[in-house]
């Protein structure tokens, strides 16, 4: 079935091996799932609390499916028809020799549509299955904590690894399967795969972010601040929504987000690899990245399985165990990549790019840790400023947020420069390929990263269940310790998610330039007019306008998502207050109606999906159709730059405020109840929607815009000749403009018609 001209037996075997590894990764996930599911669910009281979380999570997932499935259907049709607007590439004709033009269009159209469905479903599966696994695991972790720290850690981490290995396995399976079927024609269909995954990730990120923070902020504002109830108090009507929200945001949203970065990096690498293959006729440009991914899956399996506490372990070394697994995987990967490069490639450039990617992940981890961990100077400094009030605390946090954005962006710039140096003297396509390989390297340890991230909500929920079911002191100490470790791992993986999003977007940007050039060649553009020759010229006014508008999109997105959280949190506040007035709730003789708060969050989160997705999908079409393809390149550059800076700023400042509060709660400046603590709570409340809603939503948004640009660029080139006005393009632009305005109005008002909430 593999149709690769000039492939050696080793290369054919290698591709099949990668496919086997993908299935092996999935089988490992199922093996771990079975282990977790075999554990006990604790007492009746624990299961009662857990049932509330489970039902809330199911309600959210069901509603999410109802919102998303029709959109998948619409986009599938659009992607299928797109092949009739722009003909398949020359590589497709090479792959399907002897097919008539119509048959080829049909094959590529179906391939692209099926790839889109596959990308969407895989992304959905990673998010939904991962979240269900997390929900199944939390009660078992709570139960295990009554016995030992080691058992609780093992269950929590292995449940997280299920999501990690799903991400790895499905990401590898999709890309490899498409490559096996379509060979050199795979870029035509891979775009559909990437777009499907990215669009779904956007939905899950935006929906999850709004849900989790509406519940969290709403529950805290009334429960903790007004009524003085402790965290996870059973009398708080939003407590279950808050626990569900941790899964929705940090598990489903983050897993889908990293999954699409994983997907998109392989998509862009294969697109660029095919370009290099056509130039050099060396298949290694395509095979090596697939093998790197396969090795990454194997090393993640080994590394994640190493994470287990011994019977003598104390409750404070979970992070040490998790790091042991992470660094073991990294070491195994680097050694295996080196061997592969030596024996297969016979040169070190691709290997160096991958190693740079792994180093980038580690450096970004360290930078994130430095600016957001309570043990380092910045967080201590922010906490110190709490003594003079919330204003100085917020200003200090903003200052460090801006700084972390500078450092992370500089590190990424250095990484791209490393690709320039590695491929020094080679044409730009090689450099872009190097950047894409850096992305592949960075996401080598995706299994570990997602496991670390999913570990967070599992430990958090287990702690909530422990609190609500009044477990004994020793069990609670274990869960507190796991919860604290989970907060750290979540913060670290956020840094990786943002960094990988930018690298993936830069790689896509490279694919955009090469793809546009390919279409321009097909259309008979002169060499001097081709994008690879001209580059993206910011001195051209239209391009500069595109750059400026691109820079505004992340701000618009953030504005709308934060607005949505504020609105939904206000509804939760009203609901919790209303329930507190019901006789018996505060006295614990009547159980609150948890489902109502869950419904409010679910409805609010899903309502925002469509307008925000429309903005991401339609804005590149608007710019491309009105300003041209080069301006669209400028637009992408603007989106990537401001998106990266804003996302890192929000994650950094939000994480730092959060840990400044925790530092004070640990006893600094008087602990809970002190003036410093009051100020820190304000900072944390401001930072919450920044770090958990707006910031993370920018990752998939950047890539959706890039992928839509890749998809629509050929159409723009085909219908908008240089120097000629096109009525069709103008009308398209006008329609897009109206759609965006409508989406903004809808999002700002919470609907076209303001109506009171009805569950």
């Amino acid at each position: 079935m593999v149709s690769l001209p000039g492939a050696s037996p080793f290369e054919v075997a290698a591709i099949w091996s990668v496919l086997v590894i993908a299935f092996f990764g999935l089988a490992y996930a199922m093996f771990l799932r079975r282990q977790v599911m075999a554990c006990d669910k604790g007492t009746e009281k624990m299961q009662d609390v857990w049932d509330g979380i489970r039902l809330g999570a199911n309600a959210y997932l069901k509603r999410q499916l109802r919102t998303i499935v029709p959109l998948i259907f619409v986009f599938t049709i659009i992607l299928f028809l797109s092949v009739y607007v722009v003909p398949p590439t020359e590589e497709s004709k090479l792959r399907f020799v002897g097919y008539s033009d119509e048959s080829l269009k049909l094959v590529i159209g179906i391939g692209r549509a099926v790839a889109f469905i596959m990308g969407s479903i895989f992304s959905l599966l990673v998010g939904q299955f991962g979240m269900r696994m997390a929900v199944q695991a939390n009660v078992r972790v709570a139960s295990a904590s009554r016995r030992s720290f080691a058992e609780a850690l093992k269950i929590a981490y292995r449940a997280g690894t299920v999501t990690g290995m799903l991400t790895d396995g499905l990401g590898l399976l999709g890309g490899t399967l498409i490559f096996i079927i379509f060979g050199v024609a795979s870029p035509d269909t891979l775009l559909g795969f990437g777009f499907g995954g990215t669009l779904l990730a956007l939905f899950m990120r935006v929906g999850g972010g709004i849900y989790t923070k509406a519940a969290d902020v709403g529950a805290d504002l009334v429960g903790k601040v007004e009524a003085g109830l402790p965290e996870d108090d059973e009398r708080n009507a939003a407590v279950i929504a808050d626990l569900v929200g941790d899964n929705v945001g940090d598990c489903a949203g983050m897993a889908a987000d990293i999954f699409e970065s994983y997907e998109v990096t392989i998509v862009s690498t294969l697109i660029l690899g095919v370009v290099l293959f056509t130039q050099t006729h060396e298949l290694s440009w395509i095979i090596f990245p697939l093998l790197v991914r396969g090795i990454g899956v194997l090393s993640s399996i080994i590394g994640t399985y190493l994470v287990k506490g011994s019977k003598t372990d104390k409750t404070n070394n979970a992070l040490k165990q998790i790091n042991k697994g992470f660094y073991s995987s990294a070491a195994i990967s680097i050694a295996a990549f080196g061997i592969l490069a030596y024996f297969y490639l016979g040169e070190w450039r691709s290997f160096l790019s991958v190693v740079v990617g792994i180093l980038l992940a580690i450096v970004l981890d360290e930078i994130t840790k430095h600016f957001t961990d309570g043990n380092y100077h910045p967080v201590k400094d922010i906490a110190k400023n709490a003594k003079t009030g919330s204003a100085t605390l917020i200003l200090k946090g903003m200052s460090y947020g801006f700084e972390v954005a500078v450092w992370q962006t500089l590190v990424i710039a250095v990484t791209i420069f490393a690709s320039v140096m590695i491929y020094s003297g080679q044409p730009i396509v090689y450099v872009l390929y190097g950047v894409a390989m850096t992305g592949i390297g960075m996401l080598t340890l995706t299994g570990n990263n997602v496991a670390m991230d999913a570990f967070g909500p599992i430990a958090d929920n287990a702690n909530g269940i422990g609190e609500l079911s009044h477990l004994d002191k020793d069990a609670r100490k274990i869960m507190d310790s796991l919860d604290a470790t989970g907060n750290t791992t979540k913060a670290i993986t956020k840094g990786v998610a943002i960094g990988s999003a930018v690298i993936a977007a830069v790689a896509l940007f490279g694919s955009f330039i090469t793809d546009v050039t390919k279409v321009q060649i097909q259309m008979g553009f002169e060499k001097s007019a081709q994008l690879l020759e001209t580059g993206i010229r910011v001195s051209v006014p239209m391009v500069f306008i595109g750059l400026l508008i691109g820079g505004t999109i992340p701000f618009l997105f953030s504005s709308l998502t934060i607005n949505a959280v504020t609105r939904a949190a206000a509804q939760i506040v009203e609901e919790v207050r209303r329930q507190f007035r019901i006789p018996g709730i505060i006295e614990r003789t009547v159980k609150p109606d948890y489902q109502r708060a869950v419904d409010i969050c679910t409805v609010s989160a899903q309502r925002e999906l469509i307008p925000l997705a429309l903005i991401a999908v339609v804005s590149p079409v608007l710019i491309g159709s009105l300003l041209g393809v080069e301006a669209l390149g400028g637009f992408l550059a603007g989106v990537i730059l401001s998106g990266q800076l804003l996302a890192v700023f929000m994650a950094g400042a939000g994480g730092a405020w959060d840990n400044a509060k925790k530092t004070i709660e640990d006893g600094l400046y008087g602990g809970k109840g002190s003036e410093a603590h009051h100020a820190a709570v304000v900072g944390d409340t401001v930072g919450d929607p920044l770090k958990d809603t707006a910031g993370p939503a920018l990752n998939p948004m950047i890539k959706v815009i890039n992928l839509v640009s890749l998809l629509c660029a050929p159409v723009i080139i085909a219908y908008q000749k240089p120097g000629q006005a096109s009525v069709g393009m103008f009308i398209t632009g006008l329609v897009c403009f109206v759609i965006i305005i409508g989406a903004i109005v809808f999002s700002k008002r919470g609907g076209f018609k303001k109506v009171p909430f009805e569950a």
Partner: protein, 254 residues
């Protein structure tokens, strides 16, 4: 149902109750309907030692189960000069509650003044019968003695107070670091301590006249003291590691 007698510090009151200490603390902190929040600091009082001081007939008549059979939560016996009338020997354990009603019991121990450190400065939050925040160059035993033995124009019959952390300011009020101290006006605190350090005759300086009603439990240096003249009892406050191990609920609540 048993009857308990409690002496709350701020505001000062003698209260009879049928609730044991943990439930009584939770009741005072969060209210009958659990809609309130706030700290409470109270002693359990040995009823047998004060029977002659209170109206037992009134107590027995009023402190009875409610109509629905639930225990009576509180019967106020006195709200004025209460500490003054209770013998120190009648005070049993001291109880602290966090905002959410979680309780910590501190055991009464005789005070060993020979272990006191002379020459450093102290910060005392007086809790009963008066409530200023006072900086002093006197050790806890000397502080109580000075305020209760009649040697100064201002005399208190008894004093209940807690000593708070001063960090480096205890020995170096001018240049010592105040970085980790939670007090809102550190400049003023330094001024007060500097005066005490500089003026040989000055032993006390009021730092803050009005008590906010909230004690930051994590800033307690050694513990609580209650005494009069040469009689002093001490309620040692555990360090945070010990507290985490012995009363995790309370530790998490402060």
């Amino acid at each position: 149902m048993s009857k308990f007698i409690y002496l709350t510090a701020t505001p000062e009151a003698l209260i009879a109750s049928m609730l044991p200490p943990a439930e009584f603390g939770s009741y005072l902190s969060t209210g009958t309907k659990k809609r309130n929040k706030g700290q409470v600091i109270f002693f359990e009082v040995d009823l047998s030692q004060i029977e002659k001081l209170i109206d037992m007939e009134s107590l027995n008549r009023r402190c009875v189960p409610k109509e629905d059979g639930k225990p009576k939560s509180s019967v106020y016996l006195s709200v004025y000069k209460t500490l003054e009338m209770i013998p120190l020997s009648a005070l049993k354990s001291l109880y602290l509650t966090a905002d959410n009603g979680t309780l910590l019991e501190l055991k009464k121990t005789p005070y060993n003044s020979s272990k006191e450190v002379e020459g450093k400065l102290y910060l005392f939050q007086e809790l009963c019968p008066v409530t200023p925040l006072v900086a002093s160059g006197l050790t806890p035993s000397a502080f109580v003695k000075r305020l209760t033995d009649g040697s100064t124009p201002i005399v208190l019959p008894k004093l209940f107070f807690v000593d708070l952390k001063l960090g480096e300011l205890a020995t170096n009020p001018i240049k010592g670091s105040a970085e980790y101290l939670p007090y809102s006006n550190v400049g003023h605190l330094r001024d007060c301590l500097e005066i005490l350090k500089g003026e040989y005759e000055k032993h006390m300086k009021t730092v803050q006249r009005i008590y906010s009603g909230t004690l930051l439990y994590r800033t307690i240096e050694t513990g609580f003291y209650v005494g009069s003249k040469n009689e002093l009892f001490y309620y040692p406050y555990p360090d945070m590691t010990e507290l985490e191990n012995t009363n995790y609920e309370f530790f998490r609540s402060i």
